[in-house]
């Protein structure tokens, strides 16, 4: 009897903690909404579509920040996805056994580097390199919207690069985990049909496809909220532009930069409203990616159940 009482207590406490997390998340949402009421009431939807951010005139349009966050994250995703997947495949499928653990550990270590360090590295290493590349860009290319603007070194392209570097360890460590969970029976099935090593790897990737997409989206969730490193290299200039060379701005960066200077109530509320949207976007992206990862893991479990081994001892007389 004591046992079941212990059990119930354990479930209660853990349940309470879980509920607390939920309460905190909802609480943050409510508080953010409350604290941005002035701006929500004054601008309504036009807050999300306005391109002017003029605190002195009391005019607040958040589109450049939303654009900057989404665009930089998406670019980072495009850059990081193939690299992260490549690293995951190399570590889990190709590298010699004795190198696996150290390599996995090293990539995980990259995730532990503080973002300010990435930012400093960005300013002192990445920016000069990018500036050189920009100067080397041939004139005809410079006319394309993608490469328009002065060769400053700071700007959207640099921000996307640094974000990509920061995101790779996350995506690749989850993708690695997914590949490790692919049942060896899948690879063996491919080999038995005359698959080459690469074809067998493709089968494993196909099996974990949704989970790998989830891993990459998890990286997206991280890129969306990344503040420090991006602020240091993106140029902090609110504009909506496709150009990789143009200095732009992100939601997290504007909040970090301007929060302490926000003198009047409306300015403050406008900044908090940006925080609110960032909060919602990140939660949605994270939920979606977790769901994808979870659904592949579940499928693996289902397969195991389906093919559960029967009793072997059918040895008859």
């Amino acid at each position: 009897m004591r046992r079941s009482a212990d059990d119930r207590l354990f479930r209660l406490t853990t349940g309470a903690f879980a509920a607390m997390v939920l309460v905190i998340v909802v609480g943050i949402g409510i508080e953010l909404t409350r604290q941005s009421m002035l701006s929500i009431q004054k601008f309504g939807w036009s807050f999300w579509t306005g391109r002017t951010w003029d605190p002195v005139a009391g005019e607040f349009g958040a589109l450049p920040f939303i654009w900057g966050t989404l665009y930089s994250s998406l670019l980072a995703l495009l850059l990081s996805a193939p690299i992260a997947l490549g690293i995951a495949i190399f570590i889990s499928e190709l590298s010699p056994r004795f190198l696996r653990q150290p390599l996995a550990y090293l990539t995980d270590l990259l995730a532990a580097i503080p973002s300010i360090v990435y930012g400093l590295w960005g300013i002192f290493v990445l920016v000069p390199i990018v500036r050189k590349l920009e100067l080397l860009t041939p004139e005809p290319l410079r006319r394309l919207p993608l490469f328009h603007g002065p060769p400053l070194g700071v700007g959207m392209g640099t921000a996307a690069l640094i974000l990509a570097v920061m995101v790779v360890p996350f995506s690749s460590s989850v993708a690695r985990e997914i590949l490790k969970n692919v049942p060896s029976a899948q690879r063996e099935a491919a080999y038995a049909l005359g698959a080459t090593r690469w074809e067998a790897i493709k089968v494993a990737i196909g099996y974990g496809k949704t989970g790998i997409i989830g891993a990459i989206m998890l990286g997206l969730g991280r890129a969306l909220g990344e503040t420090m490193a991006v602020t240091m290299v993106i140029g902090n200039n609110p504009q909506v532009s496709l150009s990789l060379f143009t200095p732009q701005y992100t939601m997290a960066a504007v909040i970090a930069n301007e929060f302490t200077e926000a003198a009047d109530e409306l300015y403050l509320h406008a900044l908090i409203e940006i925080g609110l949207l960032l909060f919602v976007i990140t939660i949605v992206v994270n939920l979606a990616s977790r769901l994808l990862i979870w659904s592949t893991k579940k499928r693996a479990a289902e397969l195991v159940v389906l093919a559960s081994p029967a009793t072997k001892e059918e040895i008859a007389a």
Binding site: Q186, A190, L193, G194, P309
Partner: protein, 273 residues
């Protein structure tokens, strides 16, 4: 014609001499040893597996049946630290000779696993997989091959209207026949089956057994089974393995009705252990 071959390092109590029919052998195994790291699990296996017949491998758990059957298509190559010694020849060619094309070998030697392992793809794509990686792209030709394989695996009637459904939606027995169809699609000469029915109910098992019976007209079949009745029902020849050695290998009838070795008799009559 029969020849006799001395078997090296025979365990005590087994005959040191074994009769092997030559001539019709599809697969010839000579002094085959196998090691996982430093642990030797197969000792001097020597036997001939005839063409167009069903050869059953029986023996207690852990005696090396799976290891042996996976040596025939070099599936063990993917296990790190595993090592083989001795020879296995198929149609006279040593499959462990340096420079052997393992991919081509595995296309000639199909394999069906104990647990059905369909890909999470449609029924059609599962059967077409081996054909596609083999370079076949023509839609119509793919369709014909898939249909033919499914018919051979006695699954066509049950799935012909839902080829695009996920293979995972099939029952366990259907999944196993799908895996057989998938193996047949690449047109192998030899079919290795490692306890193909051990996870299935009696009805599904009967279906698989009937299927094996029909397939032997065109294939050389090697099947591992723990079910004595199954071995007796489906196989022409039976090899009894114990502790990594072949104790007795003969016509299935002989093994079950009139075994030479006391150990074999004990095992097939269930007095083992």
């Amino acid at each position: 014609m029969t020849i006799t071959i001395a078997m090296p390092s025979a365990p005590p109590g087994t005959a040191a001499v074994r009769e092997i029919e030559s001539g019709a052998a599809k697969i010839s195994v000579r002094d085959f040893d196998f090691f996982y790291g430093s642990a030797q699990v197969l000792h001097g296996i020597t036997l001939d597996i005839p063409d167009q017949q069903v050869t059953a491998l029986i023996g207690p758990s852990g005696c090396g049946k799976t290891t042996f059957i996976r040596s025939i298509n070099r599936m063990n190559d993917i296990i790190p630290e595993a090592r083989a010694k001795g020879t296995i020849t198929i149609d006279g060619r040593d499959i462990y000779a340096p420079g052997t094309d393992v991919v081509a070998l595995r296309r000639r030697v199909g394999m069906v696993f104990q647990k059905s392992n369909p890909f999470p793809k449609s029924i059609f794509d599962n059967v077409a997989y081996g054909l596609r990686i083999g370079g076949l792209t023509d839609k119509r030709s793919l369709r014909e091959h898939v249909e033919k394989s499914l018919i051979r695996a006695a699954l066509w009637d049950e799935v012909k209207d839902r080829l695009d459904d996920s293979a995972l939606a099939l029952s366990g027995g259907q999944q196993q026949r799908l895996c057989i169809a998938r193996a047949l699609a690449v047109d192998p000469e030899i079919l290795l089956m490692d306890e193909p029915a051990s996870a299935l109910d009696p009805t599904a098992t009967t279906k698989i057994e009937e299927l094996i019976w029909e397939l032997k007209a065109n294939y050389t079949i090697v099947i591992v089974t723990h079910n004595m009745q199954q071995a007796a029902r489906v196989s022409d020849r039976t090899a009894f393995f114990m502790l990594g050695r072949v104790v007795e290998y003969s016509d299935t009838k002989t093994i079950f009705m009139n075994p030479k070795e006391k150990m074999t008799e004990d095992y097939v009559t269930g007095r083992f252990g």
